[in-house]
């Protein structure tokens, strides 16, 4: 029904593979047979009008749908060839390796340090305090926040500005050194300047991680992503290199959407 190319960036290894993924909430189908292959060390953007299923699909990738009563996921989803919906895969382990950043910055009501140290602590990744200090510093540096907060690590995370909070949350996610980072409209609650910083950050992180970002803004998708997938009414309509999608969409719905006829 749709014409998707399985691997738009052949030079990069494939990280995530979805085959006929369906999701239904209490019997209502929200996602229809999505198949996609997402390469490592690049940014893949999911775009589409609200309610199109892009966030739902994102939440499949770290099994966050498990936390919703009545959610059912079907089909096959693999990361590095390993089926993540398999019974033998523990969601705790999966989520440790798949970080997630949410729409609204959600730092815990703890200090900046404790926010970043949260993951390493619960997973027991650091045995000594210096080790933990190092992890925290690295994560904050990678998130580009170290210079701004190094002198007030004991301040509550909620005392930071919105953009800083979002970078703190990213630092929190990368502190456990995940393989995939999911971002669910990470800039929708931020002003343009903070958005620019985050986009810069995403671009830097691309070196080391497989990043999947859901966004409302087509400009943002065009700016940060290498691949773009367009979702509509629970279907994956079109998927390909970002350039192709924006300059030469094959599906009329994609065309209508990016030209602003609906959305």
């Amino acid at each position: 029904m749709t014409d998707t190319s399985p691997n738009p960036a052949a030079e990069l290894p494939i990280k995530v593979v979805a085959r006929d993924v369906t999701v239904s909430y209490s019997g209502k189908q929200a996602l229809h047979d999505v198949s996609i292959e997402i390469p490592d060390r690049s940014v893949t953007a999911f775009i589409g009008p609200s309610g199109c299923g892009k966030s739902t699909f994102l939440r499949c990738l770290n099994r966050m749908n498990d936390t919703i009563d009545g959610a059912k996921v079907g089909g096959s989803l693999t990361i590095d060839g390993q089926e993540i919906n398999d019974k033998s895969i523990d969601p705790v382990v999966l989520r440790a390796s798949v970080g997630m950043v949410f729409q609204k910055p959600n730092p815990f009501p703890k200090s900046i340090y404790d926010n970043v140290a949260y993951g390493p602590r619960i997973h027991g990744l650091a045995l000594t305090r210096p080790e933990l200090d190092e992890i925290v510093e690295n994560a904050l540096r990678k998130a580009g926040l170290w210079e701004e907060v190094s002198d007030r690590l004991n301040h509550p995370g909620t005392s930071l500005s919105g953009g800083q909070q979002q970078r703190l949350v990213i630092a929190r996610a990368i502190a456990v050194n995940p393989e995939v980072i999911l971002m669910d409209e990470p800039c929708s609650a931020l002003d343009p300047i903070a958005t620019a910083r985050i986009e810069e950050l995403i671009d830097e992180l691309r070196e080391n991680y497989c990043i999947i970002i859901v966004t409302h803004s087509m400009q943002q998708a065009a700016r940060v992503s290498q691949q773009t997938a367009f979702f509509h009414m629970g279907n994956l309509v079109e998927y390909g290199p970002t350039e192709d999608i924006f300059t030469n969409p094959r599906d009329t719905r994609t065309q209508d959407y990016i030209t602003g006829r609906f959305g």
């Binding site: 966050m64 970080g99 959600n106 949260y118």
Partner: protein
């Protein structure tokens, strides 16, 4: 009563009539074209009806509340006038009586000494460094207790002598053939409060043809006076009520016209009524504060505040007879505070973990069906009257604790212990804590949970490291509210904690609390003016202040917390 009932009925009829008159006049004023009226015809009706009925009914209600009190007062006044001669001779007898004079002098001396001791104690307490002298303070304390006893004895003696003289005067007058009205008036003027009240209530029963507990010519005379006053006041009230109802009807009927803003008038009356209702809440608080303060101040004029707040001995029995000096009155409330604190702590040890953990389990783990059954069960615990908990503590928990300790070889455990009261109070508090914490936990935003789960945290890690810290202020507020409830709880402790004012840290002994003592002091026969009774109000004031402070803090904490996440 029947006349008043007829009047009430008449006013209701006038009120209904007023509504009809107002309505029909409004319609006829515009000859049926009601659209030309400023207000709907009904509003004109309401307006007339309200001014017809409301003032008259307020008068009747006031009569119902205060009528009998007024009659009593008038009766007493009239009879007392008749007894003027007797009162005069009683007063001369009092003045001439050497014993009374001697006692008054003793009292004055004792009061001086008590003041001196209190002052010296205050000085010592505020002293610092080398001037501190605990031994002397203790000596002064015992001297003070002694003085309080002596004061009470002397006061009793004075009152006893007074009663003797009074009875003498009244017996003499009766023999000399004084009028029964004078004797009744004398009784009403100088007998102790309880006797006066009994006299009046008996007279009232006779006056209303009920059965009195006794009969005497004095009572009959008083009843006759009372009946006359009651009839007068009743007729007066009935007449005025009819008159103002009628006046209101006539006046407001004249106001009805096409342009008359009846609706605005009615609505501002409604608003005023609603406003007055909301003022009652304030009046209640003012009433509480003033009644507690007023009586407490009277108490603190006999027992110093420092003695009350820091004294270690509580035995409020003021010597009843002269030879009972050993049975002293000591008003050191520390044992009560300690007992209250101990029982509250035990209750919290039970209630906080169980209440908090069940709230967490129900809101984070339990499936919807389990939640739907378990929550109402917890609410039932909250609905059980406290007297039932008291009975449970007395009948089941107390003996069970005793049995348990007897089993492990501790035999001298009493059934009424701090432990049993505390445990049962804890059970009572569980639903309180769990429902408040449930609210608090549910108001932690879902995004924080998601954030934690997305990091790979398990449920218990999310709860322990994110939800609880986030909800902590709210939980602290809930616990504070629960503590304040435990401190003010009465029936469980009255029934289960015993009455001994022990200053002990052993939860297996019986202790007493502020609330228990208030109940003990104010139930049974009492003289309203004795320090014993007044001390209950002082304790009530302490209780009120403690709970108020905790509530204010708790409400503020919870409110801040809510604002943070809303």
């Amino acid at each position: 009563m029947s006349i008043i009932a007829i009047v009430a009925l008449a006013i209701i009829v006038m009120l209904a009539g007023g509504f009809y008159v107002g309505r029909s006049r409004a319609i006829s004023a515009v000859s049926g074209a009601t659209a030309r009226l400023h207000s709907l015809p009904n509003f004109h009706g309401y307006y007339v009806a309200i001014w017809t009925g409301l003032p008259a009914f307020i008068l009747l209600a006031a009569y119902g509340m205060f009528g009998s009190g007024l009659v009593d007062r008038l009766t007493a006044m009239e009879l007392r006038r008749d007894a003027a001669a007797l009162t005069a001779s009683f007063e001369t007898a009092l003045e001439a009586d050497t014993e009374t004079l001697a006692l008054a002098e003793t009292l004055a001396v004792l009061r001086d000494r008590a003041d001196g001791v209190a002052e010296a104690m205050a000085d010592l307490r505020s002293a610092s460094g080398s001037d501190r002298d605990p031994a002397r303070l203790e000596a002064l304390q015992s001297e003070q207790t002694d003085l309080v006893n002596q004061l009470a004895t002397a006061e009793d003696a004075r009152l006893g002598r007074r009663a003797e003289l009074r009875d003498g005067v009244s017996d003499e007058a009766a023999e000399a053939g004084a009028s029964v009205r004078a004797l009744a008036g004398f009784e009403l003027a100088h007998a102790p409060r309880e006797r006066r009240q009994l006299f009046l209530s008996d007279a009232r029963r006779i006056a209303t043809d009920g059965l009195a507990s006794r009969a005497s010519p004095e009572l009959d005379a008083a009843a006759a006076v009372m009946r006359r006053h009651a009839d007068q006041i009743r007729n007066l009230v009935a007449g005025i009520a009819i008159a103002i109802a009628f006046g209101g009807l006539i006046r407001t009927r004249g106001q009805v016209a096409a342009a008359f803003r009846a609706r605005n008038h009615v609505e501002s009356l409604v608003t005023a009524m609603l406003f007055l209702s909301s003022v009652i809440a304030i009046m209640t608080t003012i009433g509480i504060v003033f009644s507690l303060l007023f009586e407490s101040l009277r108490f603190f004029s006999t027992v110093p505040l420092t003695e009350f707040l820091f004294g270690l001995q509580w035995s409020p029995q003021i010597a009843l007879r002269a030879d009972q000096v050993g049975q002293s009155g000591a008003f050191g409330a520390v044992p009560l505070f300690a007992g209250t604190a101990m029982i509250t702590v035990i209750a919290m040890i039970v209630a906080v973990p169980i209440g908090l953990l069940s709230a967490i389990y129900l809101s984070e783990y339990a499936g919807p069906r389990f939640r739907l059954t378990a929550k109402p069960v917890l609410e039932i615990l909250a609905g059980v009257p406290t007297v039932v908990y008291g009975f449970f503590a007395l009948l089941t928990v107390g003996p069970a604790i005793r049995g348990f300790f007897a089993m492990i070889g501790i035999d001298d455990v009493v059934t009424q212990s701090a432990l049993s009261a505390g445990l049962v109070m804890g059970v009572m508090i569980i639903p309180f804590i769990s429902s408040l914490s449930d609210d608090v936990i549910n108001s932690v935003p879902q995004s924080l949970r998601d954030g934690s789960y997305a990091m790979g945290a398990t449920k218990s890690e999310t709860i322990g490291r994110v939800i609880i810290p986030a909800a902590l202020p709210g939980i602290v507020g809930a616990i504070l509210l629960a503590v304040s409830r435990a401190v003010g709880e009465t029936m469980i402790v009255v029934m289960a904690a015993g009455q001994g004012a022990n200053l002990t840290a052993n939860p297996l002994e019986s202790v007493t609390t502020i609330t228990v003592q208030i109940v003990m002091l104010l139930t049974g026969d009492q003289e309203f003016d004795s320090p014993k009774t007044l001390s209950a109000f002082a304790l009530g004031l302490v209780l009120f202040v403690i709970t108020l402070v905790m509530n204010v803090i708790a409400l503020r904490v919870v409110q801040r917390y809510r604002e943070k996440y809303d």
